[in-house]
Amino acid sequence: MEFLRDMLLFLKERKKWWLLPVILALLAAGALLLLSGGAAVTPFVYTLF
């Protein structure tokens, strides 16, 4: 939560809201890659990419 708050404050300060979707997409991809280490998500990774 602290990270999201810092990031939103940063984007507001820098007036760079266009970066928000890129950051969210990156975080989602990062989370998926991390989770793909677990067997439950692995089959979906190849389908998604």
């Binding site: 990270f3 810092d6 940063f10 970066l19 990156l26 991809a29």
Partner: protein, 617 residues
């Protein structure tokens, strides 16, 4: 109540930590010296622990916990750096997809969550209450500027910083006055003097972020009168980089790959431009690479001189402070001094990213906490002897574990034996007191030898340091004798400036020498100090005064009493690829693995070919 601030530099290269108490750096150390991993980039847990325990004790505060600090300051702003990464990827797209995926993975998995990383790292160093911690983030080049100005002896000064890249800035001009620093100019990524020099380093077959010293050392082997150097320089300035009169640089990105790829240069385009391919790592040092090194050095010097002129114009100051990786190019820094643009020059001894830890701590002290500053007559870096020190009990424990024979002697006997061995032509390891802060060994973790011996450079390079034969060594000279040996005769306590050996101390090179390979030119005596005189009669000088380092001064004086020469070859106590030794264990290991003749740790002497193990006498 003391104001205690911990500065941290980490996660790129050369991690370090520094503790400031009431605006005075009481302890500073590089993580690599503890982990024995050169240029270690990980969180500096060992350096932080040493700062808190030893630094706290030295300041009379006892061992500190992180929550007893008034602030912990990271040397740069990670989110701003991430913004640069995203916008660069966008600007170069569709090129650079591969590099972006790799970087994004590192950021999403680690660096974006910097606060958590720092808190966890601090917890590993000492237990504390995270809720009480004040975490601050400085800007990369402000940290450099602060590291150069606040410890300097100047009340006001122009400050110039230049390196590869920080967040967006790759360099800047600042004005320092009293406790304030004002940013005046900024050079922005991807146009960077540091990255340009790294690109030359890479093309010449050396490793980026560590091989830049080698490229600088190779430059004097180029032929300054030859047509090829002039032609390479012309091509560099016509195609690769535009130098502005104000010191700004503009790099033609068609020739560089660092913005979008995994290499520094577009090798095919460089080869087409220069007419020779990139040198393979460890490949032969052909004359074209020596000429490239010289041309790169000339361009870098020109850029830094223009930057200094602009800084003088903007600030009107007669004092200059320099920091950032480019400031470690002592030939370029010395060229600025030679130009006479400023009367006085001061360089942060750890001018690279490690020094950001000092700047972050001092910047917070003066800027965030608004504390006044009073410049003294000399700098406040304590001779850069800011690292860990080991007790006699620790030395004896390490010596016992090593199985080596040793004896403990009085100071008088210690200095007498060390000076006598050096005068006999022996090479010694010299480990005394606190470890150095910064990349140079300044007489506390040093390998020392007689600089008058013509074969010494090759011997120490090949048999002890195990590094390339062409690489020069530096002299340590009694400060009061500097003018007797060197032309400038100025103070250079941190071995960051070049001086020329005096004309009357030089020897002419035999005819035909210029055509020889670098390794063959090394053994030719060029002066009365052949082991430390580079091809162009320069030497990267350390002037040693009795106040900053009394033990090293005493050793030099002892050597002078025997030989009439107050100069020694002083090189860092390590072998190639290894950080400078830190603990007695490190020194003993290095001593045993190399051709060193004797080792002096504190008042303990270890000799090769000594009688059976154990304490003697």
């Amino acid at each position: 109540m003391s104001l205690k601030i911990l500065g941290i530099s980490a996660f790129y290269h050369d991690s370090a930590a520094a503790l400031s108490v009431d605006g005075e750096i009481v302890f500073a150390a590089h993580e690599e010296r503890f982990t024995r991993k050169k240029h270690d980039r990980s969180f500096p847990a060992n350096a932080v622990k040493a700062c808190l325990e030893q630094g706290g004790a030295r300041a009379g505060l006892g061992a500190l916990a992180p929550d007893a600090l008034d602030a912990v300051v990271f040397y740069e702003k990670p989110l701003l750096k991430f913004e640069r990464l995203l916008e660069t990827a966008y600007a170069f797209a569709p090129r650079g997809g591969g590099q972006f995926v790799l970087s994004a993975k590192a950021w999403a998995g680690e660096k974006l969550f910097m606060k958590r990383l720092l808190r966890e790292g601090l917890a590993a160093a000492a237990p504390y209450d995270a809720a009480k911690l004040k975490l601050l983030f400085s800007e990369h080049h402000l940290s450099h500027a602060a590291s150069a100005f606040y410890p300097s002896p100047f009340e006001e000064a122009a400050i110039v910083t230049a390196d590869g890249a920080g967040e967006w800035a790759c360099g800047g001009i600042f004005r320092g006055a009293g406790a304030g620093i004002e940013a005046l100019r900024e050079q922005r990524f991807p146009h960077s003097l540091g990255l340009l020099y790294s690109a030359f380093t890479c093309y010449a077959g050396f490793r980026v972020n560590s091989g830049e010293y080698k490229l600088m050392g190779l430059a004097p082997y180029g032929d300054p009168a030859g047509q090829r150097v002039k032609e390479i320089k012309r091509k560099i300035l016509a195609e690769l980089v535009s130098l502005g009169e104000d010191g700004s640089v503009w790099l033609n990105q068609d020739y560089f790959d660092y913005g979008a790829g995994l290499r520094m240069t577009d090798d095919a385009r460089w080869a087409a431009l220069l007419g020779f391919p990139p040198r393979a790592p460890e490949g032969p040092l052909l004359p074209e690479y020596c000429d490239l090194a010289l041309a790169a050095q000339q361009v870098t010097e020109e850029a830094l001189i223009r930057l200094a002129r602009e800084a003088a114009r903007l600030t009107g100051s007669r004092n200059l402070c320099l920091a950032g990786g480019v400031a470690l190019n002592c030939a370029a820094a010395s060229a600025v001094l030679r130009e006479g643009i400023f009367e006085r020059l001061w360089l942060q001894p750890a001018a690279g990213d490690a020094g950001g830890a000092v700047g972050a701590a001092l910047g917070a002290h003066h800027i965030y906490f608004k504390q006044p500053r009073k410049a003294g007559g000399s700098d406040s870096m304590s001779g850069a002897l800011l690292g860990p020190e080991y007790t006699d009990a620790e030395i004896e424990a390490a010596a016992g574990a090593s199985g080596l024979a040793f004896n403990k002697v009085s100071d008088d006997a210690l200095f007498a034996e060390a000076a006598a061995l050096l005068a006999e032509g022996r090479v010694i390891g010299w480990h005394q007191g606190r470890a150095e802060w910064g990349p140079r060994a300044l007489g506390n973790r040093s390998i020392l030898a007689d600089a008058r011996d013509p074969g010494m450079q090759e011997r120490v390079n090949l048999k002890i340091k195990r590094r390339e034969a062409f690489r020069p060594f530096a002299p340590a000279v009694l400060a009061e004798d500097a003018a007797a040996w060197f032309e400038g005769g100025f103070s250079s306590p941190y071995m960051l400036l070049l001086d020329r050996v005096r004309q009357d101390r030089r020897k002419p090179e035999p005819p035909g020498t210029a055509a020889l390979a670098p390794s063959e030119r090394v053994g030719i005596a060029r002066s009365d100090l052949p082991a430390v005189t580079h091809l162009d009669y320069t030497a990267r000088l350390q002037t040693v005064d009795g106040k900053a380092n009394p033990r090293f001064h005493r050793l030099l004086s002892g050597f002078k009493a025997l030989t009439g020469c107050g100069v020694l070859l002083n090189t860092s106590f390590n072998v190639r690829g290894e950080p400078i030794v830190c603990s007695p264990e490190d020194s003993l290991r290095c001593f045993m693995a190399t051709g060193l003749d004797a080792l002096f740790i504190g008042n303990y002497i270890f000799r090769k070919a000594a009688p059976p193990a154990g304490r003697q006498g």
